[in-house]
Amino acid sequence: MIRFTLRRLLTAIPLAWAVVTVSFLLLEAAPGDVSGVLVPQGASPALREAILTKWQLEAPMVTRYLTALGNLCSGDLGLSVVRERPVLDLIREALPATLALTGCALAVMVLLGLGIGSLQALRRGSWLDRSATITSVVLHAVPSFWLAMVLVLCFALWFPVLPASQATDPMAAYLPAWRQGLDRLAHLLLPALALGAANAALIARHHRSALLEVMDQDFIRTARSLGLGPWRVLTRHALRAAVLPTVTLLGVALPFLFSGSVVVERVFAWPGMGTLIFEGIEHQDTPVVLGCFLVYGLLVVVGGLLADLAAAALDPRIRLD
């Protein structure tokens, strides 16, 4: 297992290089550059020149790429051109909010996915099964930003029971600690739902198939013949056997969660990495974008590794070496 873990971690190196290089090239290919943001309209020619020189914006592309790569190799993510702050500090501030959101989205994904998938399998062919299938296909197909806006309209404007944006209410700081906790939870619900729903639909469909397959197997028939009720058969025997494909799906779903967070965080004004990336791309702040994508790349590698380790722990037949 140690060799497997090390091998998987080593794959992060070429992945990181690829992420940085592709991101850099895409930013270069985009029309315009950060000077559109840095140089105020109407600036004097001297000021414009001073700003371009200060940030080496007129250096050749290869020079800027090699400088960025060299800095990243030495662990220096550089300075944000727009904010003039170390990118590492910006990521350190934003990462907890994104981890909280993706963690919650993961929970939504698993709980909703397994729950709905199980119900469908138990009520195979019923109207519940059919309507859940249609809903999951629709949820999987709609873009997360659209779903986010629909959720905001429904639960923040028409039936105002949940907050529409941000991670906390600005007045929450003046409330008791328990109400602050509730406030944070309330702010997490809509973005986590918007981010997790599409993957929950995917998991529900996979879990339904896996569960139906397991339900036809001999050990389930044996359990039933011994007089166990359907709920007990499901929770004690079938679920455990059917959950394995879902665990491997979690590793696959992580990149979608992280990429989806960019748009969802923007819609909900969530103060995480997604917002940082969105602003970085908008302003063509190369160090910020490269730093964030690098961290996302590493998180995906680690997440995938954890999913594999969890699958191995659940199924002794899987050999990691």
Partner: protein, 570 residues
């Protein structure tokens, strides 16, 4: 408060007047929650700032004089107790109020003023406000006489209000906190997150990307009447305009700036308890017509390599737009009044006024109000184009001349629905006279790069109005004038700018600026569209709200809420 160049006329107000006879409470009460598009990035006044930075900087560390506006700038004492010009008009003596302190207890002295202006002048800082000191003697910008007296020495005299604006226009910075800072990376300095203040407000907390909380500065040593009446102001960072509007409707925020007209109409019906204020003629919009051959200029730029940018005139006139008579015809073909009503009208209210130049109508003395905007006249436009040799010889609906169709690309920046709409309306209008416009909607960075490199035929653009009448940016000619996007070049306009900027007599300067606007309007380098009146929505429980062109938070210390309407008790 945003930078002084945006300071303009007194705002009109759609909202009812505050109830008369209601006394302001003696104690601070209630919280104002404001939805704002930008987060705070820098509270150092000499650096490039977001709009949130500008507003908060002015609230926590105001300029040394209280700036007002009525057809022009006016100044009242604040940190500066008094001031006077020497007889030759070149030296400005300023006396600071006694007993002013920063929030850490250090005395605020003339050295802090000198330090702030020194930062603006330092090329290592790259300050966008370096122009404030460019007309001052480098040895005295300003000179510190003692703790409470300083002297600004100007190299030449010009409009006295502008000279005062240059001398008073920077929000102060504490020398003892920033003396040893690396000037090249000031924006990343810890001061931006925990600033020392001397004004009526302090930053109580800042959660990146979420909120900025302002509270009254308990150590405020300025004039007693500037002590805030509200308990707290919270700026809630909401980048999406739709979210800001939604939260205003839901009642979770009290104030939103920059409302679209159609949103204002809906808001007036759904939430009549919200007051809508007008901020004044701050910004204008135009369609710019490139005077030079943009494609040829790209070749010249490529040939110049890393050398200096070539003279735009070397590219030769634009094959379709080089003739002022053609540009005039294009303006006549566009029903600007109707477009203005459609885009800036709401019932019987109109949030726009026709523009004839880049000097705001708010600057009453200098604005050429006598100029009559070109009327909508498609027949006249057709006739003018025919006279210039354009006809539809092949019957395809598009004019042509010497085998070249009258087809143009028009650039517009994405994310600004009104400007995108302008491009479409213009496209439709010009099609009626046989001119084809192809709309290219670009990301702002790409849009501005193409505009700077003059790589376009036409563009939809806008300018924020300057306080100082200095048309150099838009209209002075030459390769270094990168923001003269349309490469307008007229020697008589260059001469007028030079004369106007050196004229100390405001009446004589006004005559020059009016002549300048008339000259430019004749040449029609732009189809000047309109000045936009920004709409600011504020919950009706707030009293004495004076939304001002200089800031939606003008004299925020005077805002208050009657005891029976307080929403946030804690």
């Amino acid at each position: 408060m945003p930078t002084l160049p945006f300071l303009l006329l007194l705002a009109a107000c759609d909202s009812p007047s505050p109830p008369s006879g209601v006394e302001a409470p003696s104690a601070a009460g209630d919280t104002l929650v404001v939805a704002w598009a930008d987060d705070v990035e820098s509270l150092i006044s000499v650096l490039p700032q977001t709009s949130a930075d500008g507003e908060i900087t002015w609230l926590i560390n105001p300029m040394i004089a209280d700036v007002g506006f009525d057809c022009g700038l006016s100044f009242a004492p604040f940190a500066a107790e008094s001031w006077s010009f020497s007889d030759d008009g070149l030296t400005l003596d300023v006396t600071l109020r006694d007993g002013l302190q920063w929030s850490d207890g250090a005395a605020l002295t003339a050295r802090d003023v000198a330090f702030t202006y020194g930062l603006a002048a330092d090329p290592a800082v790259g300050s966008p406000r370096a122009s404030f000191v460019e007309h001052m003697d480098p040895q005295a910008n300003p000179r510190v006489l003692d703790d409470h007296h300083l002297q600004f020495v100007f190299l030449r005299t010009y409009d006295p209000a502008t000279m005062l604006a240059h001398a008073f226009g920077l929000e102060l910075l504490p020398e003892h906190a920033l003396r040893d800072a690396d000037r090249a990376t000031l924006k990343g300095h810890a001061f931006n997150r925990a600033p020392l203040v001397y004004g009526p407000w302090r930053v109580a907390s800042h959660e990146a990307g979420q909120t900025v909380v302002l509270e009254p500065n308990p150590a405020f040593t300025g004039p007693e009447e500037w002590r805030p009446k509200l308990r707290r102001v919270i700026l809630k960072v909401l980048p999406e305009a739709a979210t800001r509007l939604l939260e205003l409707k839901a009642g979770s925020v009290d104030m939103v700036t920059g409302l679209e007209v159609e949103d204002a109409i809906a808001l007036r019906q759904e939430r009549p308890d919200i007051d809508l204020h007008r901020r004044g003629w701050r910004a204008m919009e135009y369609i710019g017509w490139n005077a030079i051959d943009g494609a040829r200029y790209q070749e010249l730029l490529t040939a110049a390599g890393d050398g200096p940018a070539p003279e735009p005139a070397m590219a030769g006139p634009h094959p379709l737009l080089g003739d002022p008579a053609v540009r005039t015809a294009l303006t006549q073909a566009f029903d600007i009044e109707r477009a203005m009503t459609e885009l800036l009208g709401s019932g019987d209210k109109l949030y726009g006024v026709r523009s004839v130049g880049t000097i705001s109508p708010a600057l009453c003395q200098h604005h050429a109000s006598e100029l009559v905007p070109l009327a909508y006249d498609p027949d006249g436009a057709r006739a003018a184009l025919a006279q210039a040799g354009w006809s539809d010889s092949d019957g395809d609906g598009v004019l042509d001349k010497d085998g070249r169709p009258f087809s143009l690309e028009i650039l517009v920046s994405s994310g600004n629905p009104r400007r995108e709409r302008i491009a479409l309306l213009a496209q439709d209008a010009l099609r009626q006279i046989g001119v084809e416009l192809q709309v290219s909607t670009l990301d702002f960075n790409a849009y501005i790069q193409r505009a700077i490199h003059k790589d376009f035929d036409a563009m939809v653009g806008g300018w924020s109005a300057d306080l100082f009448v200095d048309p150099s940016t838009q209209w002075r000619s030459g390769p270094e004038q990168v923001y003269n996007f349309v490469s307008y070049a007229n020697p008589s306009v260059d001469a007028l700018i030079e004369r106007g900027l050196s004229e100390p007599d405001p009446t004589a300067a006004a005559r020059i600026w009016r002549e300048l606007q008339a000259t430019i309007y004749r040449d029609q380098p732009y189809s000047f569209l309109w000045w936009v009146d920004e709409i600011v929505a504020v919950d009706g429980r707030f009293q004495d709200v004076a939304v001002h062109p200089s800031s939606p938070f003008y004299h925020l210390h005077e805002w208050w809420v009657p005891a029976d309407k307080v929403k946030y008790e804690h």
